[in-house]
């Protein structure tokens, strides 16, 4: 009885320590639980895989550092996939706080595949005005972005000679932590210019994206860190990358965290029913 009463009022710090240890443990010693890719991640993977070599894909980086653990692995996985297939990558963003993260990816990933900035990857940067930006890019990218994020005129970048407007880009992958995000790309780019739109979202807002998948407006969805892990696994299984997979590594931690929360809930309920029954 004392035990149940203690469990009902357990110090939060004990819960934090338990969660902390169980989240850290797999990062030091991976459990190897494995990640199987679902149909939504596979749809996006196949769509990008089918893009002919030499074409450009657009990635919209619409998240900030707080969502980085969930969404940044998706960005790197898709970029690695694109470079392995000899696709060019055009980066832009609807969030000003995402610019630093896109810059990081544009700097770190291309050298792994011997790709050069300006020829194989360009980062346009951030511009204010969501619909004006997307609609403007639909007509002429250079009108919206006369220079790239680093101040270089777009005319001086060889890659931009073949990419003038959104119709030259077969697919856009919008990684969004909120609004503006993939919904704006669906609203303007997909409906108006016929672009295929894939999305990467945080786990909490994944359910909102399902109707677009079901209606066929969206081509594939990566939901949360699990979605990122699924894509990393697909890229590695296809032999496109041997790089460290941060989302896959973190999935062990997420699994354990979920299990420990469930166990805590069970313990709490057992203690609750025990003390309630005995009139405590």
């Amino acid at each position: 009885m004392k035990l149940f009463n203690y469990l009902l009022k357990i110090d939060r710090r004990i819960i934090y320590i338990v969660v902390g240890l169980l989240v850290m443990f797999p990062l030091v010693k991976p459990l190897g639980l494995g990640v199987t890719s679902g149909p939504r991640a596979r749809t996006l993977f196949e769509a990008i895989d089918a893009v002919p070599a030499g074409k450009t894909i657009l990635i919209s980086v619409d998240f900030d550092p707080s969502s980085m653990p969930e969404l940044y692995p998706m960005l790197t996985a898709v970029m690695r996939h694109a470079f392995a297939k000899n696709l060019k990558v055009l980066l832009c963003g609807l969030w000003v706080t995402g610019a630093g993260l896109a810059d990081k990816a544009a700097t770190e990933i291309p050298p792994e595949y011997g790709k050069k900035y300006g020829e194989d990857v360009v980062f346009l940067g951030w511009k204010a005005g969501v619909d004006a930006v997307i609609l403007g890019m639909g007509e002429n990218i250079k009108n919206v972005y006369p220079v790239d994020y680093y101040g270089k005129p777009l005319d001086s970048l060889p890659m931009m000679n073949t990419v003038k407007q959104l119709r030259d880009i077969p697919i856009v992958f919008a990684i969004s932590a909120g609004t503006p995000g993939y919904q704006d790309w669906l609203l303007y780019a997909q409906s108006r210019y016929g672009m295929r739109v894939g999305a990467g979202v945080t786990a909490v807002s994944a359910a909102d994206a399902y109707p677009y998948l079901q209606s066929g407006q969206m081509t594939g969805l990566l939901a949360g860190m699990k979605g990122g892990a699924e894509y990393e696994v697909l890229v590695q299984k296809a032999g496109y990358s041997k790089a460290y997979m941060p989302a896959v590594a973190a999935m062990d931690s997420q699994s354990l965290a979920h299990v420990v929360i469930l166990l805590l809930v069970i313990v709490g309920n057992v203690a609750y029913f025990a003390t309630r029954k005995r009139g405590a």
């Binding site: 357990i10 939060r12 819960i15 934090y16 969660v19 902390g20 989240v23 639980l33 494995g34 990640v35 199987t36 679902g38 900030d64 550092p65 707080s66 969502s67 980085m68 653990p69 630093g100 810059d103 990081k104 204010a128 005005g129 004006a132 994020y149 680093y150 101040g151 786990a203 994944a206 359910a207 909102d208 399902y210 109707p211 949360g224 699990k226 892990a229 999935m251 062990d252 997420q254 699994s255 965290a257 979920h258 299990v259 420990v260 929360i261 469930l262 805590l264 809930v265 069970i266 313990v267 709490g268 309920n269 057992v270 609750y272 029913f273 025990a274 309630r276 029954k277």
Partner: protein
Amino acid sequence: MKRSIPLAICLIMGIAMMIQFFVPHPASVAFYDLTTKWVRIVAAFALVLGTGSLVMYHVDKLQRRRRGWYYSIVTLTAAAATSVIGLGWGVRPGSPLQDIIFSNLLVPLNSSMFAILAFYMASAAYRAFRARTKEAALLLVAAFVVMLGMVPIGANVPFFWFLVVMAGALIVAGLVTRSKALFIGTGALVVGLLVWLAFSGFKVPRLMLPDTAEWVLSVPNMAAKRAILFGIALGGIATSLKVILGIERGWLGGGKQ
């Protein structure tokens, strides 16, 4: 006058923007672009206002040595340092603002705060997820299904076995606590499982936990969300109308006349 002019502006602009929504003429589109530019300019003024307010508040706290005045030194120093670095060395990639302040300070600090959520979710779930009522019990089961179904550990688990394990746990809990509610719930669950097994030809049904989790998220969860969104949308329209007509005047700052 202090109230009449803002109310009049609100009324005129509110009606104008409503009309603009229905008029596709270029003049209407130009008007919309102009107003969005105005909004951005006014928002920029707010930055000046905010900075001034921040400085005044902390300087006052320092001068009066109120409780926690030393935190104000940190705040003012950080604000000053960021402004000087940004104004002096620029904000482009490669500048100290980007490399030091953004990448090495802001990004880790933001990520740390966001990471606190994991611990808080555990403690909040432990404290609040108690099956006090039938609805709470249903919430609990849905939480179990979704939490296990969304991680690799539950990827290859058939939903049937999940329910069997749950029934087993409930039986043990019932025996330990001798709770009538638990016995009844467990009995209903066991009967349901046996019926399902019978319908599937006494083979384990192929419905997997992740599929069930997805169904929970995309059907009942989505239905509830949409219902709430209907209410929010209508409430938003009604509140906007009240603001435009001057019935709701809280935004003027100072209650109603």
